[in-house]
Symmetry: C2
Subunit: 408 residues, 2 copies
DNA sequence: TTATTTATTTTAGTACCTAAAGTAAATAAA
DNA sequence: TTTATTTACTTTAGGTACTAAAATAAATAA
């Protein structure tokens, strides 16, 4: 008779095995059992299925002898070519396309300069279709299947409906982007906020694994945030949760790009810092409303080298940031707040006032034990996270589709 | 051989049946199956066990005929006396003790005036032991077992460790209260924030069931908040999440009871409103730092009846509240914000400026579709929520202990 | 060469669930 | 009044998935 609709234990255990193999690399059946709380007999049965489906392979025994007595472990590992995902990062004036294999490793990466603010929703769709088609044709040869596509976007997105609601990198609003790509490429399309991608990568790092409640603040052209609760991004009702950049520092504060006053972003983002400095300081020529990396580096240099006005600007940014973080601590009480993004280049110039503002705003009981740390920034991290999230989201499909193709 | 450690389906299904019966009242086996996605054969088997354990009873067929053809449904229902819980609400200068039955119905309630701010941790423990002992002796006669005790406390508590970290109703800090009570009364002791109790009750109401992400703001002597994410209270790392009252309105704002400046509580709590008014208005005599219900009602009356100064004070409170809510919307993006607590009495005098502040602070894309509503306040609601949470937390124990006692 | 150790596989047995068949208890229709 | 129909509940038969224990495999140590 039929499988009970509520009994998902085989499915759950199989996914657990796949994910353990992805996280830990090659693992023996005994250890897979111990790690996941299942018997090794069950692991034998699950791995036999996965082997038949071509999702895993047995690793040939090492030539250098295994240590210890007894029958040596037979390591099994994911077949990196069993599936792949494509992740596209959409940021202001640039898109990045990355191919990741079934292990989550980056196998290909390319950047394109694109005037994103000029694009209509149709332009963007067409552009993405073109670029992804090219990637499919050139880069996906050895893979058994394309499991999914992840679109990592700054701003407010609805993952559920696949709609870009509001992105600082784009001029249009409310574009249901996932549906068309899913239809065109016959695979799952995941739409994610870029900060959530970064947070997923950071949460997996050994230094932060014991932080079930993790807040990641992204400083850059704008200011983004991700809140992981028990390791999963908190999205809110419409996907506009964690909009730290537009939480408030001061009721009648500086003007923000969003049109309101007093947002944290209006003090601590690249454009806010540059705007405050441009009037008074000698800085590289360029669009001062959309400062380039080079422009920002020049400004940061001034602050770090002791220019008093630049220091004052960063100090005030740090104060706003700290004040905003105080609210985050009072409301989320996370284990850890990590500050990263391209804007961390200036973190040393903000740090002191930031900590001071936090202490001034919160009593010790509410300040709690939350660690607040900064963390080096790597422009490829977003897509690494997107790949991981896309694989995680599509493991179930990969599993059932491999099964189907084997049966038929 | 042994039951697989991962196979919890019978346990899960049994709990689901118990909880359905608690939420919906008497239900037939067919309907229990349909509601929980299990076959009625399984419900037959589960209900046979529960019947033997004495946790449910079959309801005798109704004298007025059931409508429709076919064999009439045999309704089963929880035995209200199968278990009970005691909930204690600890608020400033008052404690309430309530007995709830296995259905979650209040069976007994009593209030005691207690100078809570004068108590040491030991005093409190002794007092609670006394009061609970008396309740046990007098009120728990008909019940098969005391499943648990719930302590509902204003302020910051660690549910995990059972420690009261910081409560405005108490002078001491960091008191591990649960352990001693658990030892003394041989049952589970649940320590909960009062706002979480209220939120649990509200979330179950038909009007709000479609709000998986619910924020409840409690106005009163202090200002509390609860955030339910998918129906469960978000606690944070140390239990100090959702401290809305000490999130910020203004960097250099009014002095708060916590010792910091600019907290929302320093504008919109009872003591803040009364403090602002007492200098200038004729109000009932009394401790103006801890205004009584009567004092607050007098002040609210003035504002609602058009006294300009009182109106200005409430308007400013509304502005602070709205500003704080804007941050909550930006960070949590909930489906619904409910404003309640004894302080809602003055909500009409705050409403206009509150909404204005929210609109001024947030662009439409971030304002989202969140409903913001107020909701009538009932002083018994906290304990109703505490009972529900305690029952939910102890259903598993009740189940396994009834089983054990049946087997032996 | 044999004993020991450890890993994996096979076997036997259990718990749970569902579908389908059987039974029970009512109303509607002949 | 009897029979058919409908709906609810129970029993039976069959299937999946798991574990413990036994068997087998493959190494090292003695």
């Amino acid at each position: 008779m039929a499988l009970t609709s509520t009994d998902t234990s085989r499915y759950d255990n199989t996914l657990a095995v796949i994910r353990t193999l992805r996280d830990q690399g090659p693992v023996a059946r005994v250890d897979l059992g111990a790690l996941n709380g299942i018997s090794s007999a069950t692991v034998t049965s699950i791995s036999a299925e996965l082997l038949q489906q071509g999702l895993i392979t047995e690793r040939p025994p090492e030539t250098p002898r295994p240590t210890g007595r007894g029958r040596p472990k037979t390591l099994i590992e994911l077949d990196p070519n069993a599936a792949c995902v494509v992740c596209i990062k959409l940021s202001i004036n640039e898109i990045q396309l990355v191919v990741g294999d079934f292990l989550g490793q980056v196998r290909h990466s390319e950047y394109h300069a694109v005037p994103t603010l000029m694009l209509s929703a149709e332009d963007l769709e067409t552009l993405l279709e073109e670029k992804i088609s090219a990637i499919c044709a050139q880069q996906l040869k050895g893979f058994q299947r394309l499991a999914g596509i992840c679109l990592a976007v700054q701003g407010v997105v609805s993952s559920q409906s696949g709609t870009i609601i509001w992105s600082p990198a784009l001029s249009f609003r409310n574009a249901p982007i996932s549906a068309r790509l899913a239809e065109r490429f016959h695979c799952s399309v995941l739409l994610e906020n870029d900060a959530n991608c970064i947070a997923s990568v950071l949460a997996a790092q050994p230094a932060y694994v014991d932080c079930p409640n993790l807040v990641v603040i992204m400083l850059g052209y704008g200011i983004g945030m991700s809140v992981l609760i028990n390791g999963v991004p908190y999205l809110g009702a419409n996907g506009s949760a964690a909009e730290f950049g537009h939480s408030k520092y001061h009721p009648d504060g500086a003007l923000c790009a969003c049109g309101r006053r007093g947002c944290i972003e209006a003090y601590a983002s690249d454009y806010a810092l540059y705007r405050a400095a441009a009037e008074h300081l000698e800085l590289p020529a360029g669009d001062s409303a959309h400062p380039s990396e080079q422009q920002m580096q020049a400004l940061t240099q001034l602050a770090l080298q002791g220019d008093l006005l630049a220091q004052r600007i960063y100090a005030e940014a740090g104060r706003a940031l700290g004040y905003g973080i105080a609210n985050v601590l009072a409301l989320f009480n996370p284990d850890l707040v990590l500050i990263t993004g391209s804007g961390v280049r200036g973190f040393d110039a903000m740090q002191a006032t930031m900590h001071h503002a936090i202490d001034e705003a919160l009593v010790a009981e509410l300040r709690g034990t939350t660690r607040i740390e900064s963390c080096a920034w790597d422009r490829d991290m977003t897509c690494m996270g997107g790949i991981a999230m896309a694989l995680h989201a599509t493991d179930g499909e990969t599993l059932s589709e491999s099964q189907a193709s084997f049966v038929s």
